[in-house]
């Protein structure tokens, strides 16, 4: 038995253990927690920080978070939403409107935003599923619901129209810089906060995936009619998927609004925000737990590296980034996380052939 096979078999033995997900989770989030330190480590005169700054890390984890939230609905139940900016924006706006106009602590505002977004998600879902929208039609409907909000908010002076909100100071709502205020004076706490967010949504996602709810979700994704025929209440479970996903996406929007200081309809409800929120999940592997996280650690750094490497010609980085997107969906339509199993399948096929030949 070759060394590789030994390792592989050991890994499989480990993988079968009940504690395996816990160990993997701890390892993953341990790594995430250590990243700000790791990027500062000097290896042969090179620091990773030269490529990945803390700000880029934060952005990466934000999109890992939103993609994970998107994944609960679209990856698990197969209802491809192209309008998650709606929920993201609701979270951002609820937080800022409450904190700026009513001095409500942003944590409370965030939860209010989550609930509002969940409600909006239920409306979208109830209408779309009642009328049996599928595929492109469903995607376009969700997009329309998001674009609708962009124009509504732009034209509503009650929500400060196109000017949007500037974040208030902690003292304006009776707090001091720190966790309670949801505001910090440097980036590191913001990083750990969003890693914490990611941990929570990943945990929720894992719980769903490993429960009967997840089973129903997958059944709906694979064959909704068949699922319904064996008694899965698909309408209700799709709604659960939308609501949970919308709720968590809104929390991401709330974080965004606190971290970036200012929001406008054309920043949080932007057309391309819809894409940015879900892209890591599609690149990483929709419907998987690891996909959104791995995807984000590919998408965001690639765009960042392209930007810093090809900065001599303005715009060249977007060409590289575009080519990267095309390449990844062509060569890995099921996401990057499928690479190991594809490699394994290939390996086994090769070995299988050998056995047949013998």
């Amino acid at each position: 038995m070759s060394a590789i096979e030994t390792v592989r078999d050991r890994y499989r033995t480990f993988d079968d253990q009940r504690y395996a997900p816990l160990v993997k989770g701890v390892a993953l989030f341990g790594l995430l927690a250590a990243l700000p330190t790791i990027i500062e480590i000097d290896v042969a005169g090179m620091e990773l920080a030269a490529l990945l700054s803390l700000k880029v890390l934060i952005l990466t984890v934000i999109y890992a978070y939103t993609a994970q939230a998107w994944n609960i609905m679209s990856g698990y139940t197969g209802q491809f939403s192209f309008g998650h900016a709606a929920f993201f924006g609701i979270g951002a706006y609820a937080t800022q409107a409450l904190v700026v106009d009513a001095a409500v602590n942003p944590w409370i505002g965030m939860l209010v935003g989550g609930v509002l977004a969940g409600g909006y998600g239920l409306i979208i879902g109830a209408l779309s599923f009642r009328f049996k929208l599928q595929g492109h039609y469903f995607a376009l409907a969700t997009l329309a619901f998001a674009e609708l909000l962009r124009f509504v908010v732009t034209n509503m002076s009650e929500l400060r129209g196109a000017n949007g909100y500037f974040k208030a100071f902690p003292r304006d709502y009776g707090a001091e810089y720190g966790l309670v205020a949801f505001q910090f004076q440097n980036d590191l706490p913001y990083y750990y906060l969003i890693v914490g967010f990611l941990l929570v949504v990943t945990l929720v996602s894992w719980l769903i995936k490993n429960s009967w709810v997840g089973l129903y979700f997958f059944a709906i994704r694979e064959d909704e009619r068949a699922a319904a025929s064996v008694g899965v209440p698909s309408f209700r479970y799709k709604l659960i998927g939308v609501a949970v996903s919308a709720f968590f996406t809104a929390l991401g929007g709330a974080y965004w609004s606190m971290y970036f200081n200012t929001i406008r309809p054309d920043t949080v409800f932007a057309l391309f925000k819809n894409v940015e929120l879900l892209l890591p999940a599609v690149v990483g592997g929709p419907g998987t737990l690891l996909g959104p996280i791995v995807g984000s650690f590919i998408v965001t750094p690639v765009s960042e590296i392209a930007r810093t490497t090809f900065s001599d010609i303005n715009g060249l980085d977007r060409i590289i980034y575009g080519a990267f997107l095309v390449a990844i969906v062509i060569y890995s339509p099921r996401g990057v996380v499928s690479w190991p199993s594809q490699a394994r399948a290939l390996w086994e096929r090769v070995r299988g052939d050998e056995e047949v030949n013998e």
Binding site: G45, M46, E47, A49, A50, L51, S53, K55, V56, L59, T154, N155, G161, A162, N163, G164, F166, F169, Q185, N186, F260, N261, T262, I263, R264, D266, T267, R307, T308, T309, S311, D312, N314, G315, D317, R318
Partner: protein
């Protein structure tokens, strides 16, 4: 990522970008190679070439491990690609030009002729890159920052400067609350923000018209429906009634709209004494087009903070019809010789229009250079102190001495009145900056 760097590098922290404006000048000459051929007699090319040999070599190969006082690095954080790039590139070029001119004069005097270098970062007009690019520019050694044109991006960018205690002089960013009520200690804005521009409109334009014997009792607003358009609209609503001008109609145009027919129909049926346009270049062109198509023109066609009627290209695109338009916007000061000089140098070097926005960025860079000159140091806090006490008169913008208040706003910021006369944009009011009399 700085544009002055020729070879790319994986470690921007250690590997300082090309130092010395000589290299910058060479790169510029490269960019504007068309002009270098015929307009190369310009002294900038020569002096850049002279010192370029040695400066360029040491700059790109060794870099400087520590901040040394033989160069001052300005970090320019602007949208160099994406939908805002048309203006952003011009603004960044203006900042480079300001550095080049200073170096031609012998550099920063108080630092024994230290050269001014500009390193550029492209924020792509994206909010999430505003802070990131600021950090990159700082880690590349920038002593002071400027940017960013888009207000949300500027907010993110200034936040970084404030936290790190590095001065940030805003080139352009219109939103009032970037500075107001933010408690910033390191951020400054020479430019009049939206509210100031609108109040200047209300103060100046009606009196120009009335002084000329005209009547202006009613107005119709035509604005772009984004934050900048709405900010001006809100302020005009506040200030115009104080000058006895009633707003009888408001109509908005969407960014990227294909025409302004409906909006003009609406304005036409309200038939106000003046239409006040607040748009980017494209929106104003559409307005002019639709007005002509419907054979309508109010007694006074005016604009507040509109890019269209201070943009020579747009004015010539519109043609005849643009003549007579009164517009208040930040403007270049035509009464000083330096303006024409800078303008012609800019045109020679960059084959781009020296618009009011570009001119404002140029002024921001001069403010920075002047502050460094007065500080005699590249320490951020020294520069910051100098900015606080600054009173800079020798600039090319049509406004008084640039002095900052506690919030960092320029107390003498001004949006004077321009008029299109014979297809060229002329400052007509207040008189101290006027190059022509208003024709009412």
């Amino acid at each position: 990522m700085g544009k002055t760097l020729k070879s790319s590098t994986s470690n921007r922290r250690r590997f300082l970008k090309a130092t010395g404006a000589s290299v910058a000048a060479l790169t510029l000459a490269g960019c504007a190679s068309d002009d270098a051929g015929n307009g190369g007699g310009d002294s900038g090319g020569d002096s850049g070439g002279d010192s370029g040999g040695s400066g360029g070599d040491t700059g790109t190969t060794t870099g400087t491990p520590e901040q040394s006082v033989d160069e001052v690095i300005i970090g320019s954080n602007h949208p160099l690609s994406g939908s805002l790039a048309a203006t952003g590139v011009g603004m960044s070029n203006a900042i480079k030009l300001a550095a080049m001119r200073k170096n031609e004069e012998g550099g920063i005097e108080s630092l024994d002729g230290a050269e001014v270098t500009v390193i550029e970062g492209d924020n792509q007009g994206a909010q999430e890159l505003g802070g990131q690019v600021s950090e990159e520019l700082l880690s590349e050694g920038a002593h002071v920052l400027t940017g960013c044109y888009s207000s949300p991006v500027t907010t993110a960018a200034t936040q970084v400067a404030e936290r790190q205690g590095v001065p940030f002089v805003i080139s352009i960013a219109a939103a009032d609350n970037i500075l107001q009520g933010r408690d910033f200690n390191y951020v400054y804005r020479p430019q009049p923000p939206a509210r100031r521009l609108a109040s200047d409109y209300a103060d100046l334009v009606p009196s120009v018209i009335r002084d000329g014997g005209g009547t202006i009792d009613t107005a119709g607003l035509f604005y772009i429906n984004n934050s900048y358009g709405q900010a001006i609209r809100d302020s005009l609503r506040e200030f115009l009634p104080e000058q006895n001008v009633e707003i009888v109609e408001e109509t908005a145009i969407e960014f990227g709209a294909s025409n302004a027919n409906t909006q003009v129909s609406r304005l036409r049926s309200a038939d106000p004494d003046t239409i006040i346009a607040t748009t980017y270049v494209a929106g104003g062109v559409l307005l002019a087009q639709a007005l002509q198509d419907q054979d309508y023109r109010p007694p006074y066609l005016t604009a507040s903070a509109s890019a269209t009627f201070t943009d020579d290209d747009a004015v010539s695109d519109i043609g005849e019809f643009a003549n007579g338009v009164l517009d208040n916007n930040y403007a270049l000061n035509p009464t000083v010789d330096k303006t024409a000089e800078v303008r012609s140098q800019f045109l020679d070097n960059y084959d781009q229009e020296f618009s009011a926005s570009v001119g404002m960025a140029y002024t921001a860079a001069e403010v920075i250079i002047q502050a460094v000159e007065e500080a005699g140091s590249v320490e951020p806090d020294d520069i910051n102190e100098a900015l606080k006490g600054l009173s800079y008169e020798d600039h090319i913008s049509a406004m008084g001495a640039i002095e900052f208040d506690d919030q960092g706003e320029n107390v003498n910021a001004l949006g004077p009145v321009n008029q299109v006369q014979d297809l060229s944009v002329k400052v007509v009011y207040p008189e101290e900056y006027a190059e022509a009399d208003p024709q009412v």
